[in-house]
Symmetry: none
Subunit: 421 residues, 2 copies
């Protein structure tokens, strides 16, 4: 079963609106084992809509359009479907009655233009809209079916759930899971997972973010759930403890869970990230149970005043040094009174600092046992552009959280960094 989307609206081509409808429909259909194979955006132009729908029907079994069903003269989806089917638009008495009632109930007058919303291509089915004025349409055409839905998101969503999915979903069997890794490069992950790519009925996709790679495993076929389980097991064996979670278990959520299980808390000491690590650890509702707080010691002097980094170390080595990360982690742990302290110092760029090149980062993690650990993440330095600073800061956040996770679990520095003695 191949499904294509045709989204109608000048505002999408102009970029005034992001195509959230297409993303939502893609996700919803995928959840039900249906594959969107192409998605097209055309403007409010009759010929373009007719062309896009006709071409889509040439490839797909079903086409879903959104937009162009409103009352104004640039709403042309109804006209396009009638033209594509070679039929006339006829006024639907029930739709007209409903429009008149809605307008009367609001104490307003019906604009003649609004009656356009009661026109349907001859022979088309009408999809009721419990949430708004514009009805949807169902048109059988060229051996396929077209569902024309309004562009207003919650009206469209209701029709997808109530009409389109019950009709289209059913027998396709697909199972899907996303694994999350930190510290690995995309090409390393993909090379390592070649044996899984070769498994029957399995497809892998790699979704890279700074310092993270997500792997989406899709299994298809009648025993999709079993295949998915096997592929997941194989991926986890090949990638080892670089896999920190699955599905919506983001790194911050994993850390809150690990801390919660140990009745432990964490505090943050930040320099180049300026507060981003604390911000990440407070995204989740309820994070106050396991995140206490921290310090942003951006000015070098504050590293001594707020966190107790020895002045001698700062004077000798500057702010970007393993011993500074170590002392920051221990200092914030003690001063905030948390079980763990995580700290970062480094050079975000775009200029070198204290003789250290851009991308030099040290992560310190202090815990209840032993000396604080210091790890130097291996960052791919993303060129020299203006964006470098943001990317390095984001990578630093991920590496700091990943190293915190590894210390909590008693793991070594892993593939993303090297321990500094």
């Amino acid at each position: 079963m191949r499904v294509e989307l045709v989204t109608v609206g000048d505002e999408l081509l102009l970029g005034d609106t992001v195509n959230g409808n297409a993303a939502w429909i893609g996700q919803r259909l995928a959840e039900h084992g249906l594959e969107v194979t192409r998605s097209v955006v055309v403007g409010d132009e009759l010929g373009a809509i007719i062309g896009a729908v006709t071409e889509a029907l040439g490839r797909a079994d079903a086409v879903i359009t959104t937009g162009g069903l409103g009352p104004t003269y640039d709403d042309l989806t109804r006209d396009a479907l009638a033209a594509a089917a070679g039929v006339e638009l006829v006024r639907d008495p029930a739709l007209e009655r409903r429009l008149r009632e809605r307008v009367a109930a609001a104490g307003r007058e019906l604009q003649p233009m609004a009656l356009r919303m009661a026109d349907v291509p001859e022979g088309a089915g009408v999809l009721g809209n419990s949430a708004g004025s514009a009805a949807g349409l169902r048109v059988e055409l060229a051996g396929g079916v077209v569902y024309a839905l309004p562009g207003v998101p919650f009206e469209m969503r209701t029709m997808i759930d109530e009409v389109v999915l019950p009709e289209l979903a059913g027998e396709t069997r697909v199972a899907r899971l996303t694994l999350r890794t930190a510290g690995l490069w995309e090409s390393v992950v993909a090379t390592g997972l070649a044996p899984v790519e070769a498994m029957d009925g399995i497809r892998l996709a790699y979704l890279p973010d700074p310092a993270e790679v997500k792997i989406r495993i899709t299994a298809s076929g009648p025993d999709a759930p079993r295949r998915l389980e096997e592929a997941e097991r194989a991926c986890r064996e090949l990638l080892g403890d670089a896999v920190y979670g699955a599905g919506d278990q983001t790194l911050d959520r994993v850390i809150h869970r690990l801390l919660g299980e140990r009745s432990a808390t964490v505090a943050t000491a930040e320099s180049l990230t300026g507060g981003l690590i604390g911000a990440e650890l407070t995204r989740m509702p309820g994070s106050s149970a396991t995140y206490a707080g921290g310090m942003v010691a951006y000015a070098t002097a504050l590293k001594e005043e707020l966190l107790g980094v020895p002045g001698q170390v700062l004077k000798e080595h500057g702010a970007v040094h393993p011993d500074v990360a170590r002392a920051m982690a221990a200092g914030v742990r003690e001063r905030v009174g948390a079980t763990y302290g995580v700290a970062v110092t480094g050079v975000a760029g775009p200029e070198p600092q204290d003789g250290r090149p851009v991308g030099t980062i040290f992560v310190g993690v202090a815990g209840p046992e032993g000396e604080p650990k210091v790890i130097r993440p291996l960052l791919p330095v993303p060129g020299t552009g203006a964006e470098i600073r943001g990317v390095i800061r984001r990578m630093t956040v991920v590496h700091a959280l990943e190293q915190l996770r590894r210390v909590i679990l008693g793991l070594d520095a892993g593939p993303g960094g090297e321990a500094v003695p």
Copy 2:
């Protein structure tokens, strides 16, 4: 000049990613008088990419593709363009050298797969990527031109601005400026600017973000620069001191400039934002000259321990109270030794806290003169969904910075908030 977009990636069809690239390109091209006439999304499938590019070239003068240029075997845009042009992929020595240097600089090993990024269709031009690994391509094909750009947004954006626009735009006479406001609602801004919308040759677009509205003024015609100047003056008169900057003068940059002019510094004390305000004030290179550092006092007890908020106030009123914001601002100013202290406390949600509803925020600003000021921002609470927390945190950051700006300049609380005595 007709331009079509082809976006490549399973993640877009599956709805894991919203097609923000297409929206950004549409907007950027429209600003330069170019029209995107169709936008297609296809998956990581060779035949689909070849088909989409070939069809697009049949209708348009130029085609821009994004995505599918990475190192993995599901990155197929290079292969598709070679097939469409009927040529071979050849390895580009300069690209190969650059890849090897980047990997060596990061102290890693080159995966053979990564060398795919050095392959280009024979005869194609290479678009350098200052921000990442994947080069872009320029292929002349079927009487038109195809620009193949990476899917990573900031890499793609740089190539659009540096290569695609200079080639495609050219002679269109357009002048453009963006004004930035904080604390105003979009509908208020749009209503207030009706007289400017009526000006000859002027188009306004409103780009709302949480707690901010940017107004893009586009002037066209032979005297576009003069018209733009008049429209800007009119906007500034109508909006008053809610306009904090223009162009790339983001709120954090404006604050650093104001502080720098006064040889002053600022420190931050954060609760619900967990470090986001500090992170915002350290985005800019060189921000250490005017941003000192701060505290994240997420746990209520830390507000007393780290910032000296009287325990009595916390016991009586809870953590979300004007007197807490006031004491946090004064406390962080003193303990960090900065000229100004800015502080926030409030309820990010999704649940109420201390009997206060979601969206209750207090901003405190302490300066060198007089008592610290407390302002209560007037937030539109965005429903009850899972996203509420992120939006409220973001709005809080903007209001805190805006109130800091207003205190530095000696202005009142402005349209975005009310002063709390």
